[in-house]
């Protein structure tokens, strides 16, 4: 009775004899399995990062328009603002008993491509960017004084620009990277604090007082419909003030339903984006077809990899007929040579699948780096996905199927004829 160990030695020996073909096939299987696992993992983790995070606020109110655009612009600091809302809306929300915290945002400027957000000192507390997680400062930093030209910068901004506490910053107009035609404001802001990393889009933001935004040279306020240019030493009347959005922390779940009805169904001047996770989930649902196409492509790559296993084994069959005939003449059963070929296919599939985890690690590391650089959102490469189990198993099954044809050919080897028949 041939032992499995003995068969395994035969398999390894054969794979080694055809080393180049084995290596190429293993690499193609590794790329296929890594790609499939990568597609599923990146898709899941992007969704978790954008739509599943435990935010410290529930809703965003902004100009009438797309909820998705509002959330992308306010929470993820992407896209452009859908427009402005009047200061009175902020005052109204601040006084609403269903609102625990209202945080005004005024957007529109950038520094070195990083967005600048005008807001109140409440952003550094009681506001929490995630549940139970307020912004904290690196040593030597503090919140800005709303009466001064001070600015607080996110961790990524500090890392990329090299800005330190005490440095001076001149904001540029617009939310995109500085372009030639963009206007660099005359006002200089002093960096008074650098935030600790939050691993969120907030790391790519500079925070300054609302007044600082309003009084920036070239800015015109249109809260009343007519243009108003703030003057030094003169308080800005509230009716001229405008905001890009207001972030809300609500009291209880019922508040969200009521406010959604009030602003989205009955009102006409503002959009109430709530719950934020659901709004982002809509984005992924809209892009679902793209994920499906990627998945289909990945599956096809797996089938191609299985075909490469078949080709690599089948191509060696003619030269190996003699080997099989000798084994059979020594007493190996047909099922034994059949098993040897199947094991070879499975060994290639297994080796490729294991190497596929290396490919997956590369894909995840690359994806995480790109997503973080572009959005500040951090995806966790160590989150497990069921695809990490069923992809290698699926590849093993495909490998087995691919090995069937060459295994049947080995099974059918005619010993006497192959060993040159009768004399």
């Amino acid at each position: 009775m041939s032992s499995f160990f003995g068969l395994w030695k035969l398999v390894l020996r054969s794979l080694r004899q055809h080393l180049l073909s084995t290596c190429v096939t293993v690499v193609s299987v590794a790329l296929a399995t890594g790609l499939v696992m990568g597609v599923f993992a990146v898709s899941q983790q992007s969704r978790m990062a954008f739509a599943g995070g435990p935010l410290g606020f529930n809703a965003v109110v902004g100009a009438r328009g797309s909820q998705l655009q509002l959330v992308l612009n306010t929470v993820f600091h992407l896209e452009t603002s859908p427009g402005n809302v009047p200061w009175s809306l902020y005052e109204e929300l601040k006084e609403d008993k269903r609102v625990e915290l209202a945080l005004p945002f005024a957007l529109g400027d950038n520094y070195a491509g990083f967005r600048i957000v005008g807001t109140t000192p409440e952003v550094f507390g009681p506001f929490e960017y995630e549940k139970g997680a307020p912004f904290t400062f690196q040593p030597g930093g503090r919140a800005f004084d709303p009466r001064r030209r001070e600015i607080v910068i996110g961790a990524s901004v500090a890392q990329v620009t090299g800005l330190r506490v005490g440095d001076h910053v001149n904001p540029s107009h617009g939310v995109e990277v500085n372009r030639v035609e963009d206007h660099v404001h005359d006002e200089e802001f002093v960096v008074c604090g650098i935030l600790n990393p939050t691993h969120s889009p907030n790391d790519r933001v500079l925070w300054l007082p609302l007044e600082g935004v309003y009084r920036m040279s070239g800015h015109r306020l249109r809260g009343t419909g007519a243009e108003y240019e703030p003057k030094d030493g003169v308080a800005i009347p509230d009716e001229h003030k405008e905001l890009s959005a207001v972030l809300l922390k609500l009291v209880g779940r019922g508040s969200g339903f009521q406010l959604a009805t009030k602003y989205n169904r009955l009102g006409k001047e503002a959009t109430f984006a709530w719950p934020i996770g659901a709004v982002m989930a809509q984005l992924f649902e809209k892009l679902g077809w793209m994920a499906s196409i990627l998945e289909i492509v990945a599956y096809l790559v797996m089938v191609v990899a299985a075909a490469s296993i078949l080709a690599s084994l089948y191509n060696t069959m003619n030269e190996r007929r003699r080997e099989f005939a000798i084994l059979r003449a020594l007493g190996a059963r047909r099922s034994t040579v059949f098993t040897v070929i199947l094991l070879e296919a499975e060994a290639i599939a297994l080796g490729g699948s294991l190497l596929g985890f290396g490919v997956l690690a590369g894909i995840l590391a690359g994806a995480a780096q790109i997503v973080r650089e572009k959005t500040g959102v951090v995806i966790d490469p160590f989150v497990l996905h069921p695809a990490y189990l069923w992809t290698p198993l699926g590849m093993m099954a495909l490998g087995g199927l691919a090995g069937l044809l060459p295994a049947l050919k080995a099974y059918a080897t005619d010993v006497a004829e192959t060993l040159s028949g009768g004399s």
Binding site: R333, A416, S423
Partner: protein
């Protein structure tokens, strides 16, 4: 009853013209346990076919092959494979060693499908055949004579009760042939294995007390030989 008993054995094949050609037609042949017999025969007289039939590699059209009282004809492929692995040692004309495996591994492979790998016994056999310093050499690194000795070791590895040898000295010079046959016969005797050698080499045959002409026991062979002799040139 002989240890190996053959009765009314027929084997034919269809030639390219579609005609049935009888290769083996042996009314009776036997071999006693431990006996060493040499069968002489020219090329094409059915030597290899006969050995393949005895080893269960091929199946006859009809007839009987009994090994130690057990009928082999009619056994399933799997049972014939098992019988071959456990009871038969076969020294092929071209040795048929596996290129990617060392001398020792080739012998161990022979054991793998029989009672199991026994590296100690395999080494002992190779050492007895003068290959102690060639255990880990591959066939391509061995001389023809050394390859032949590896094939002998592999044939004896499973302690078979019958060793079949098909032109075992066909590729060797006379000195090496005599040495190889001496070793094969000595080891068969040592391990109480019967030996059936088929060859057309006179010097190989002369060493055997028991010699038979295959054409005498194989009616098909003699008929074909006569046909060949009578056919106009």
């Amino acid at each position: 009853m002989p240890f190996l008993s053959i009765r009314d054995l027929h084997k034919s094949y269809v030639d390219p013209t579609g005609q049935h050609q009888t290769v083996i037609d042996i009314p009776s042949f036997g071999l006693e346990s431990g006996e060493q017999v040499a069968l002489a025969g020219r090329s094409g007289c059915g030597k290899t076919t006969l050995l393949n039939l005895i080893a269960g590699i091929s199946t006859p059209d009809r007839g009987s092959i009994q090994f130690d009282g057990k009928e082999l004809v009619g056994l399933s492929t799997g049972r014939r494979d098992r019988f071959r692995a456990q009871s038969i040692g076969y020294v092929f004309q071209s040795f048929y060693l596996l290129d990617g495996h060392s001398a020792l591994e080739n012998v161990l492979l022979g054991m793998q499908f029989g009672p199991g790998r026994d590296a100690v016994f395999a080494t002992h056999l190779l050492t007895a055949l003068g290959l102690s310093d060639r255990l880990h050499h591959r066939p391509s690194q061995l001389s023809i004579g050394q390859r032949q000795r590896v094939a002998v070791a592999r044939a004896l590895a499973n302690r078979p009760r019958l060793v079949l040898a098909d032109e075992p000295t066909g590729s060797l010079d006379p000195t090496s042939a005599a040495e190889a046959m001496g070793l094969l016969r000595g080891l068969c005797e040592e391990h109480a294995a019967a030996l059936l050698v088929v060859s057309h080499d006179r010097e190989t045959l002369d060493g055997f007390e028991s010699q038979l002409d295959l054409a005498e026991i194989n009616l098909a062979g003699s008929q074909r030989a006569r046909s060949a002799a009578e056919s106009p040139r």
